[in-house]
Subunit: 355 residues, 2 copies
């Protein structure tokens, strides 16, 4: 029992020092000879949260190393390639956050003002480009074209997911398969690739690499569903970013799709659509997500939330996320003991938003 | 004489069929399984002009091949690597055009409505990301990490140029060295890299590759100065894109910097700044660049143009562009006969905007 505790502590320490090294690589890569550039980059670095994607790279690398070592847990520092790759996926992620905030016209991210809000969309568009460019630049330093190609293939997929989402704005007939196609591409693909490449660079067998890819993908899907739930029913101060943007931008997420599908009668379905349209319009007119009772927008939102609870749509989305986490855990059967436990906990943490 | 003619025709044909192959590679790379994505990409492809950058890749490759072949002109089709690289630099360029139009709020490009104007900034931001992602994806297929790294280094530089430009908006004290630093990074770097990599992949000596890089860089600087002149004194119908955006966005270009520098007396300099500020405000209020006399904006613009002519500032900028073209030509001393002539003409064409 105490030994398990020791192992978990040792793994947590290993991960913490690994992430610190990733952070160093990231900062060094983004450094410019132009002070104006460094100033903007410093702002984007504040967006960084708990570094879920770098963690997936490092921990998948650890799983691969354990497999290669015949099941022995080896907590020597990760190879430089893993730190570099982890920095690459984090910079890709930062770039998508910066551009997403432009698309969503978001004003708050990680509890602070977004770059587009403070410095204008122009700075945010170019900064996102700067970040993505440096991600590829850093990646090409690995001298492994296969890795560069996989990263670029993943960013292709992420962009397709965003474009698919955009082309389905205000599509009240959006179905679940299309919703899952969107979130698989825009969110889950980078999580899957983080695990896949972390495992492959660690020398994992093809089967293990594939299983870890699937783990990352399921975890990423669950992550996005929880993110969408928070946008709908979270509190801005707690979540730390602008909420209600999905409703404002006519993006249908899982609970809303479920609600629309569960309204059998055409008239009641039409009422929900009317409410969604009114909320979208009101959201566009308001800077903040009003919480006070009596406000027309607050009333509409309260009504929508009531319907989402009554129809079981919120519960349904939560269940789907939970099922995806279980599915992620089942992908870990090839991973030996302590690392498996750690990865299972990571997946579980997505539901309570520890990440 | 007639032989020279034949050689020029043969080279033109060689280039035309090479660019057609580049075009094929580009279209194949950008193809998605999602119709919504292909629809947007088709719009961006209409932005394509005379493919200056792919031309630089191919022609530098030809120069290298001629050098490697002991001076013999060899008009067999270019290697696949050159076609791929040429497609990469064109897709990078397309991505910058799409994002530039967002930054400039431009409504017209190549005689047609811009994507941001037709589909909104959101589609344009993501489409630019999609293009840049595919550029790296295609580049990594070359299996040459050195090339990927050089391309990514160049896009880093392009973004820095854009950020430096942004941080100098409405900076009435902008000096020439900073202006040149901006255009070297945002425009000339990609032209220089196109020549450098085209030469290197063609087996050029290090000296020739370096000389061709410098040729491309000088040509790129001249290109941007001419572009800036057209924004100031061109006609929208002739140039085919929204004009006056530099003035609207407070971007100082070479003629204006020269004018501000030539106004010795503080008061007359202040008058020019006041006029630039009024023009910027008026431009922001108008969708189009008004050409009719009597309009307050037209009057301000006519006054500014008069001052630019009287002070010799337009002539100065034209001369600088001309000198850069001469400098570009001097970089060609190591390139044998027919190819040198062709490359010299290409540089000259930048001044009359044949490209």
């Amino acid at each position: 029992m105490s030994q398990t505790c020791d192992v978990t502590t040792a793994m947590t320490d290993w991960l913490r020092s690994g992430l610190a090294e990733v952070q160093n690589r990231l900062v060094m890569e983004l450094l410019s000879d132009l002070p104006a550039v460094n100033d903007l980059v410093a702002h984007a670095e504040r967006y960084r949260g708990k570094m879920l994607r770098p963690m997936l790279v490092l921990i998948s690398g650890l799983a691969a190393r354990q497999e290669a070592g015949g099941g022995e847990l080896d907590l020597r520092p990760a190879e430089a390639t893993h730190h570099v790759l982890a920095a690459v996926v984090e910079v890709v992620h930062l770039a998508t956050l910066v551009h997403d905030d432009v698309l969503d016209e978001a004003e708050v991210r990680r509890g602070g003002a977004t770059l587009n809000h403070l410095r204008g969309n122009e700075a945010a568009v170019i900064l996102g480009d700067y970040l993505i460019s440096h991600a590829y630049h850093l990646c090409s330093s690995l001298d492994r074209p296969v890795v560069s190609r996989q990263i670029a293939r993943t960013t292709n997929t992420v962009c397709e997911g965003e474009l698919l989402q955009l082309s389905n704005r205000n599509n009240w007939g959006l179905d679940e398969p299309t919703y899952f196609e969107i979130i698989r591409r825009k969110t889950a693909s980078l999580c899957g690739t983080s695990c896949l490449l972390g495992a492959e660079l660690g020398g994992a067998s093809a089967e293990t690499a594939r299983a870890l890819h699937d783990y990352g993908q399921c975890l990423g899907l669950a992550f996005q569903i929880v993110d969408d739930l928070l946008d709908l029913v979270g509190q801005e101060r707690v979540v730390g970013k602008s909420l209600g943007r999905d409703l404002e931008k006519g993006k249908l997420t899982l609970p809303v799709i479920h609600l629309l599908g569960s309204e059998q009668a055409g008239r009641s379905r039409q009422q929900v659509i009317g409410r969604l349209q009114r909320i979208g319009r009101l959201m566009a007119e308001h800077e903040e997500f009003p919480q006070e009772a009596g406000h027309p927008l607050a009333t509409e939102l309260a009504e929508l939330r009531n319907r989402l609870v009554q129809s079981g749509s919120l519960g349904y989305a939560q269940e789907v996320a939970q099922r995806l986490v279980e599915q992620a855990k089942r992908c870990l059967s090839r991973v030996p003991g302590p690392v498996r436990g750690f990865m299972a906990e990571t997946a579980q943490g997505v539901l309570t938003r520890s990440f």
